[in-house]
C-alpha cells in the first residue's frame, strides 16, 4: 500500500472521530447549562474555558475571541474554519483525505462522508443549528457513526483499513482522556477525591455523557456518580469501547496486524510504545493514578499517544522521503556516474 494512502486513511478516520467527539462535547455541555441556571459570567467562563483547553487550542482561541462565552466557544469549536480542529474543519479534512484515496474506499462510505460535508458546508447547517443545536449535533453524530460503521462494514479489512483503525483509536483514546480531564480544577491535585457537590455530580455525569458512556456506566455502577468511578471506567475499563484501555488495546492489535509481529515482541517503535502502554493500563489501579495526580497522569498519557502516532509515521509513512532538491541531486549524481561508465 502506498505510504501516502495509508496516511490519508489514517487521517480520514481520525478526523471523523474528532468531529464526532466535538459534537458530543459541545452538545452535552450546552444541555448541562440548562441544569445549571443562575450562573454568573465568571462561573460561565469557568464552565466553557476548560472545554477549549481540552482540545489543546486555547492559544488559537484567544487569538480569535476575547472571552470564553457559550457563543464564542461553540462558534470556535463547531463552525470556525480558522480553527483547524473545529467540527466543520475536521469534516473538511476527513473528506479531503477521503478524496485523495477515493479509489481505496467504498462508494457507500464516500457518499455518506460527502453528504455530511455538504450538510455542514451549506447554509442549511447554520439554520438547523440556530433552530436547535441539539438537532444539528444529532445529525452530525448520526452521520459520523454511520461513517464509522460503513468503514467497518464495507471496507475490506486489509492493511489500509488497519491504518484507519489506528487513526480512529488514537483519536478516541486521546479525546476520552481529554474529556475526563475537563473538571480537573475541582479535584485535589493528588489523592482520591471524597464527597462531591450536587453541581459537581452533574458535571461528572456530563463527562460520561460526553463520552457516550452514561448507559454503559450505569449498568456497572448504577446511578452513583463519583469522580473515582468515572475515571476508572473511562480509563481502565476493559470492555467499554471508548475507554482508553480498550482503545489502546485495539490500536496495539491493529499495529501488530499491519506488521505481522506477535504480541510480546516488536519490530518498530510504534509497536514498542503501544505494547508498553497496553501493559501499563492493564496493570494500573485508579487509586494509584489518583495518588500520583489524575491531571498529570492524563497529560503524560496524551504525550504517549502522540509518541505512538509519531513512531507510526516514522515506521511507515516518512521512510526515505527526500525533499525535492535532495532528490534532484541524487538523480544527477546517478546519471553522471552512468554517463562516466559508458
Amino acid at each position: 500500500m502506498l505510504s501516502r494512502v495509508a496516511n490519508s486513511l489514517y487521517w480520514m478516520s481520525r478526523y471523523i472521530e474528532r468531529a464526532e467527539n466535538i459534537a458530543r462535547i459541545v452538545d452535552v455541555n450546552l444541555q448541562l447549562l440548562l441544569d445549571l441556571r443562575n450562573l454568573d459570567e465568571e462561573r460561565l467562563a469557568k464552565h466553557w474555558l476548560p472545554i477549549v483547553q481540552t482540545t489543546g487550542d486555547e492559544e488559537n482561541f484567544f487569538k480569535l475571541h476575547k472571552k470564553a462565552t457559550a457563543q464564542n466557544v461553540t462558534e470556535f469549536l463547531v463552525f470556525q474554519l480558522e480553527n483547524p480542529n473545529s467540527l466543520v474543519s475536521s469534516i473538511c479534512q476527513a473528506r479531503e483525505n477521503a478524496r485523495m484515496v477515493r479509489d481505496q474506499i467504498t462508494i457507500e462510505l464516500w457518499e455518506e462522508l460527502n453528504r455530511l460535508y455538504w450538510f455542514v458546508r451549506t447554509p442549511t447547517a447554520r439554520q438547523v443549528w440556530k433552530e436547535s443545536p441539539s438537532e444539528f449535533f444529532q445529525q452530525v453524530k448520526a452521520s459520523s457513526l454511520h461513517i464509522i460503521g460503513l468503514t467497518y462494514a464495507t471496507l475490506i479489512h486489509n492493511e489500509g483499513w488497519r491504518f484507519a483503525q489506528v487513526g480512529k483509536f488514537i483519536e478516541r483514546a486521546d479525546k476520552t482522556s481529554r474529556i475526563l480531564d475537563l473538571r480537573y480544577q475541582t479535584l485535589p491535585e493528588k489523592g482520591v477525591p471524597q464527597s462531591v457537590s450536587e453541581t459537581d455530580a452533574l458535571e461528572w455525569s456530563a463527562i460520561l455523557r460526553s463520552c457516550s458512556a452514561w448507559d454503559a456506566y450505569k449498568t456497572i455502577h448504577g446511578a452513583e456518580v463519583s469522580p473515582r468511578l468515572v475515571a476508572e471506567f473511562l480509563l481502565l475499563n476493559e470492555d467499554f469501547p471508548r475507554s482508553v484501555r480498550f482503545c489502546v488495546g485495539e490500536l496495539n492489535d491493529a499495529l501488530r496486524k499491519i506488521s505481522g509481529v506477535a504480541e510480546g515482541k516488536f519490530s518498530n517503535d510504534a509497536e514498542k510504545l503501544a505494547g508498553r502502554l497496553v501493559a501499563e493500563l492493564q496493570f494500573s489501579t485508579i487509586d494509584e493514578i489518583f495518588d500520583a495526580g489524575l491531571h498529570g497522569y492524563l497529560d503524560a498519557l496524551q504525550g504517549k499517544l502522540n509518541d505512538i502516532g509519531g513512531a507510526l509515521f516514522n515506521a511507515y509513512i516518512f521512510q526515505n522521503f527526500n525533499n525535492l532538491e535532495d532528490e534532484i541531486m541524487v538523480q544527477q549524481e546517478e546519471q553522471q556516474q552512468q554517463t562516466a561508465r559508458h
Binding site: 500500500m1 505510504s3 457518499e111 453528504r115 511507515y316 526515505n320 522521503f321 534532484i328 538523480q331
Partner: protein, 491 residues
C-alpha cells in the same frame, strides 16, 4: 411509414421548439423529428414537465452526493462544481457512427505515423510536405527524443478528438487532443445517471454500451509494458487532489483497479521507478500520466515542478518504464500541425481524409495573414498551443477592443496563431428552465485508445454551450454535457 418518421413534434415540452437557421440534431428544418430520435421523443412525450423536473433534480443531487465534480481554479469558497448535465441525450445512428469510427481510426493512425516519423527519419519534412520551420518552432516538439523508440511505436495512446457539425450537418474535426485529454469519466458517469433516470429506455431504444472503456484502457496500458515484464504494475500519475480533473483520475484508477500516485509517491533508483509503500519500495512498469510533459521530471523539464518525479525521464529513456501518452505528442496538438493532418493522411496512408478539417489559415503564411487581418471580425482566431477555450477570438462576437488586441498578437507572433471561418455549430434541444427547451450548440469528443488495435467506445462526451448563442462548450466557460447514445440501428 412516412407519417411515422415525419410525425410532427407534439411533445408537450417541445411544443414551441424551433430549429431556426441551424442544423439541429433532433429536429429537421421542416419541423419533423429525425428518425433516430423518434423513439426517444415518444418516451419524452409521456413525461409531464413535473416528472421531468424531478428527474433533473435527482440527477443533480446524485452527482453532488457522489462528488462527480470538477475543481474551479481561483475560487476558494466553492472550489467544486458539478459539471452541468442536460438530460436530453445526443443520439447518433449506427451508420453515422460507423463513418465516424472509420474517420477517427484513419486520423489517429496517421497521427501516430507522423509522430514516429517526426522523431525518427523526418521524411515528411524532407519531402517538403510540412515546412520544417513549423515543427522546429513548435512549443511542444521535444527534440531530445529524436531517435528514441517508444514501446510498440505508439505515441498517442489516448486521444480525445473534438468533432463538430456545420450548418449542413457535415462532421468536421475541430482539434486533436493528444496529450492528456480529460472528460471520459463524464461519459461513464453520465451514462450511469441516464440509466438510473430512464431505466427502461436503453433496451427499448437500443443504445450501445460504453462501460468497457476502463477495461480497454487497462488492456492498452498492459500492452505497452516494457519488454520482458509479463505482469506489469500500472499506475495513474495525477497532479493531485487540487487538479480540475482529479475526480476523473480517481475514477479511472478505481475502475481499472490500479494505484493512483502523485509525484511524491514515486522515486527513481538505478533508472527504475518505484512507489513508496508501507512495505518499502515497489516497482512500477507503466504509468498512465495525467500530467503534461513540462511537469513530468524537474531534472529535465520545468525545474520548479513539484508535481513530477526526478529521474522519471531517465528511467523512461532506459526503457524501464512506459508512459502513456508518450513524451512529445504535444507537437501534434499544435493548431498549426492540425492544418497539415489531411496532408499526413495522404502522405502516410495514401487516402483522402474521411472526416475533413475545418479550413485553416496560418498567420505565418503571408497571403493567409493578409486575409486573416482583413477579416478578423468574421473569423475565429486561435493561439496555436492553448486549450480549454482560452486564447481564442470569436470575431463575430468580439468587441472592437478584443479585435484590436488580437490584431496586435497576430502581427507580433504569426507562428502562434491560426484562423478558421466561424462555423455555425449544430444545435441540440437542451433544457433551459421550467420545462422549456431551446437549441444550444454542441460538439462531440470521442475517446480513441491506441493499443494492440484502435478502440473507440461508441459515443463520447457531448459538450453543450449552455449560454444562449454561445459557441464555447468548455466546462471552464459555461459548458455542460449530455449523454451520447450510439444506436445499434439507424432508427
Amino acid at each position: 411509414m412516412a407519417t411515422k418518421t415525419k410525425s410532427l413534434l407534439r411533445a408537450q415540452m417541445l411544443r414551441s421548439y424551433a430549429p431556426e437557421n441551424f442544423f439541429d440534431e433532433m429536429v429537421a428544418a421542416d419541423g419533423t423529428v429525425r428518425p433516430h430520435y423518434a423513439r426517444f421523443r415518444d418516451l419524452l412525450q409521456s413525461l409531464t414537465p413535473q416528472e421531468f423536473a424531478l428527474k433533473r433534480q435527482s440527477v443533480d443531487l446524485a452527482f453532488m452526493r457522489q462528488g462527480v465534480t470538477f475543481n474551479v481554479y481561483g475560487d476558494s469558497a466553492g472550489t467544486e462544481k458539478i459539471f452541468p448535465f442536460d438530460l436530453l441525450p445526443r443520439i447518433i445512428p449506427a451508420k453515422e457512427w460507423e463513418f465516424l469510427e472509420r474517420g477517427l481510426t484513419q486520423r489517429i493512425t496517421a497521427l501516430n505515423l507522423f509522430l514516429h516519423d517526426l522523431y525518427h527519419e523526418q521524411k515528411i519534412l524532407k519531402d517538403g510536405i510540412i515546412p520544417p520551420f513549423y515543427v522546429l518552432s513548435g512549443k511542444h516538439f521535444r527534440r531530445e527524443f529524436v531517435n528514441f523508440n517508444v514501446p510498440k511505436d505508439i505515441y498517442i495512446h489516448v486521444c480525445g478528438t473534438d468533432l463538430i457539425r456545420d450548418d449542413q450537418g457535415n462532421y468536421l474535426v475541430l482539434e486533436d487532443n493528444g496529450r492528456c485529454p480529460s472528460g471520459v469519466s463524464y461519459v461513464l458517469e453520465n451514462r450511469r445517471a441516464m440509466k438510473r433516470t430512464f431505466p427502461d429506455m436503453f433496451e427499448r431504444i437500443g443504445v450501445r454500451p460504453v462501460e468497457h472503456y476502463s477495461q480497454e484502457l487497462l488492456k492498452m496500458l498492459k500492452h505497452i509494458a516494457p519488454a520482458g515484464v509479463s505482469d506489469p504494475t500500472v499506475a495513474l500519475l495525477t497532479p493531485g487532489a487540487y487538479n480540475s480533473a482529479y475526480f476523473e483520475h480517481t475514477y479511472l484508477a478505481r475502475q481499472m483497479g490500479i494505484e493512483i500516485v502523485e509525484g511524491r509517491d514515486l522515486v527513481v533508483r538505478d533508472a527504475r521507478v518505484f512507489m513508496r509503500t508501507t512495505k518499502g519500495l515497489q516497482p512500477v512498469h507503466v504509468i498512465y500520466r495525467r500530467l503534461d510533459d513540462d511537469f513530468l521530471d524537474p531534472t529535465v523539464f520545468r525545474r520548479d515542478s513539484m508535481l513530477g518525479v526526478p529521474g522519471l525521464v531517465h528511467a523512461y529513456r532506459a526503457g524501464n518504464v512506459s508512459l502513456a501518452n508518450s513524451i512529445g505528442t504535444g507537437i501534434a496538438d499544435d493548431k498549426v500541425m492540425y492544418h497539415f493532418v489531411p496532408k499526413m493522411i495522404k502522405y502516410y496512408l495514401d487516402q483522402e481524409p474521411i472526416i475533413p478539417n475545418v479550413a485553416t489559415y496560418l498567420a505565418n503564411e503571408e497571403s493567409d495573414k493578409k486575409y486573416i487581418l482583413a477579416n478578423l471580425e468574421k473569423l475565429v482566431v486561435k493561439a496555436a498551443n492553448e486549450s480549454g477555450g482560452y486564447g481564442m477570438l470569436i470575431g463575430p462576437k468580439a468587441t472592437k477592443a478584443e479585435i484590436k488586441e488580437f490584431r496586435k498578437k497576430v502581427e507580433a507572433e504569426p507562428r502562434n496563431y491560426i484562423a478558421q471561418p466561424t462555423i455555425s455549430l449544430s444545435r441540440h434541444p437542451t433544457h433551459v428552465e421550467d420545462g422549456l427547451f431551446e437549441g444550444r450548440h454542441i460538439d462531440l469528443r470521442p475517446y480513441i485508445i491506441s493499443g494492440e488495435k484502435t478502440v473507440i467506445v461508441p459515443g463520447g462526451l457531448t459538450r453543450v454551450a449552455l449560454r444562449k448563442g454561445s459557441l464555447v462548450v468548455n466546462s471552464s466557460q459555461g459548458g455542460g454535457s449530455k449523454d451520447t447514445w450510439v444506436l445499434y440501428g439507424d432508427e
